[in-house]
């Protein structure tokens, strides 16, 4: 499979066209806006945290296929996870999209592994990680808008 076809494989295109858990979450007790000033991608992540884990997570925003698909997959994978699990997945995911294919990480990350191909496109790493940085800041209740720059 060419690098490009891997980047835009069916799962990613599908999530970008029909993002899961899309929409504002009124019950959220954490939310945060993330912004990539280089391309104008902007999204808001909403989290309902209950007893130290993520009970519900949704997002709204507009962006490229990679950033929307990554946000959509993130909401699916992190639902029900504890803070400690979120941190571990965040670190593994970050490593995968910056360094590329790694059998151990891909096994651990499950469906998120479809984004491993992003590492072949350094200019697009920020697209794949925008939602993730925003999520982290939301959980930390950081007062500033998250910027990739």
């Amino acid at each position: 499979m060419s690098a490009l076809r891997e980047l835009y494989q069916q799962v990613i295109v599908d999530h970008s066209k029909q993002p899961r858990n899309f929409g504002a979450l009124d019950a959220a007790n954490h939310s945060k806006e993330g912004f990539n000033p280089l391309c104008g991608d902007r999204l808001t992540v909403y989290i309902l945290e209950q007893a130290g884990s993520i009970a519900k997570i949704q997002f709204v925003g507009c962006g490229c296929a990679i950033s929307v698909a990554s946000a959509s997959l993130m909401t699916e994978v992190l639902t029900g996870k504890s803070q400690a699990e979120v941190n571990e997945i965040f670190n593994d995911f970050h490593q995968l999209v910056t360094l590329g294919h790694d059998a151990v990480l891909e096994e651990k990350l499950g469906k998120l592994a479809v984004l491993a191909g992003v590492a072949e496109f350094p200019a697009r790493v920020k697209c794949a990680t925008l939602a993730w940085h925003t999520l982290k800041a939301a959980l930390a209740d950081d007062a500033h808008t998250v910027s990739t720059e």
């Binding site: 835009y8 280089l38 490229c64």
Partner: protein, 406 residues
């Protein structure tokens, strides 16, 4: 005279490169363009044969470097029909030229509540320096709106003038939309109100004949690297009487007449504004680029790029779901567009895989994106070496994009 543009293309070595295993199709000329062999040779020749510091050595080599450097100034002066060669100030690029005027002219002439007129279609480089000035002196920015087609209505512009208007700063051509503004008319209106006008010529200078005396603009800035010359060098043209009364922008060597710890007197124009050793090779290379453009003829280049614009507009508008942003009647060879359901960044990545280099993003013109309620566009911009075949490759690439997102 008929120009063989296909033959000229062969004079640009970089265009023979491949990218991602495919021949390079370079359509990002508004960002920077490729250099002809003569410009590359001039840089090489300078460092092999003429390198010495200028305006100070008593030895022959320094005189030679100075002569070549000053020859470039005259080359550029005659190219834009400036009245004097000392009205050509070498700076790092159009951006530094605007900053120089904002800080030197602006800070010495503008006071609290004075107003500066700019337009919605400005590049950030013609917004931020003025914004910084407004913060320093307490002045205000007034912004000319643009229509859906990306044009300025002259009546909207006229309405912004009042007794507090002290400066107009406007792009000759928009980098994001391609619109060519009616500078001559806008300069005349500014002058009726006794207001000077600065023209950001970065996107116009490489694509059409520019006559600063005919336009009657007070300042005109442009960059070498967008005009087939080296990076890191550009020009501020200013009318002598304005430059004379402006204080220096930076202090240092070359810009002084005499220095003591109690008093420094400044050098005459243009040196007053050229502190420190400049990019000598860059200036010489830019002079060669201008000579190259002059030999082809700016009218011929403009006509060739208009043909590309017409062909590209026709081919791209025929693609279902594609919308061109910026449809002014007078445009340079820039086509900005969006494609339904696909983000410009994804288009950029897929086109890159086809060997087609375009720009995807806000083009350093975020207010333009806001005006059209879009986060970004894809922009194809043409240079003298582009051909209809390049546009066909772009169209083929967009078809590949549509297939991925079908």
């Amino acid at each position: 005279m008929t120009i063989d543009f296909d033959k000229l293309r062969g004079e640009f070595p970089l265009l023979k490169e491949t990218t991602r295993g495919k021949p390079l199709i370079y359509l990002d000329n508004s960002a920077t363009n490729q250099k002809p062999q003569v410009v590359i040779d001039a840089l090489n020749h300078y460092y092999c044969h003429d390198n010495a510091n200028i305006h100070r050595g008593v030895y022959e080599l320094s005189e030679r470097a100075t002569r070549e450097f000053e020859k470039a100034r005259v080359e550029i002066q005659t190219f834009i029909n400036a009245a004097h060669s000392h009205e050509i100030i070498f700076v790092r690029g159009a951006t530094e030229g605007i900053n120089l005027v904002a800080q030197s002219y602006g800070r010495s002439q503008l006071k609290a509540d004075d107003e500066i007129i700019i337009s919605t279609m400005e590049h950030h480089s013609n917004i931020v320096p003025w914004q910084m000035l407004t913060e320093q002196v307490g002045a205000k920015l007034r912004v000319i709106p643009i229509s859906d087609s990306g044009e300025i209505d002259i009546d909207d512009y006229k309405k912004l003038f009042n007794a507090r208007t002290k400066m107009v700063a406007i792009a000759h051509a928009s980098n994001a939309l391609g619109t060519i503004n009616p500078i001559k008319e806008m300069a005349a209106i500014a002058h009726e109100h006794g207001v000077p006008i600065l023209v950001d010529g970065a996107q116009a200078f490489p694509h059409m004949p520019v006559d600063v005396q005919d336009l009657d603009c007070d300042f005109y800035v442009f960059s070498s690297h967008k005009a087939y010359g080296p990076t890191g060098i550009g020009v501020l043209y200013g009318k002598e009487k304005l430059l004379e009364k402006m204080p220096p922008y930076q202090g240092g060597g070359d810009m002084i007449e005499s220095v003591s710890f109690t008093k420094t007197t400044y050098n005459k124009l243009p040196f007053k504004f050229e502190a420190g050793t400049p990019d000598i090779a860059g200036v010489i290379g830019f002079g060669v680029a201008v000579k190259y453009l002059k030999a082809i003829g700016m009218q011929n280049i403009a006509a060739h790029e208009q043909d590309l614009l017409v062909y590209g507009t026709q081919k791209l508008s025929a693609i279902p779901g594609l919308k061109i942003i910026g449809t002014a009647k007078q445009k340079v060879g820039v086509i900005s567009f969006v494609l339904e359901g696909v983000h410009p960044h994804d288009i950029g990545t897929i086109l890159d895989d086809e060997g087609v280099a375009i720009r995807a993003g806000h083009h350093c013109a975020m207010p333009v994106m806001e005006r059209y309620h879009i986060p970004a566009t894809v922009r194809a911009s043409f240079g003298l070496y582009n051909t209809n075949a390049d546009i066909d490759a772009l169209v083929k690439g967009i078809m590949a994009v549509k297939k991925v997102f079908a």
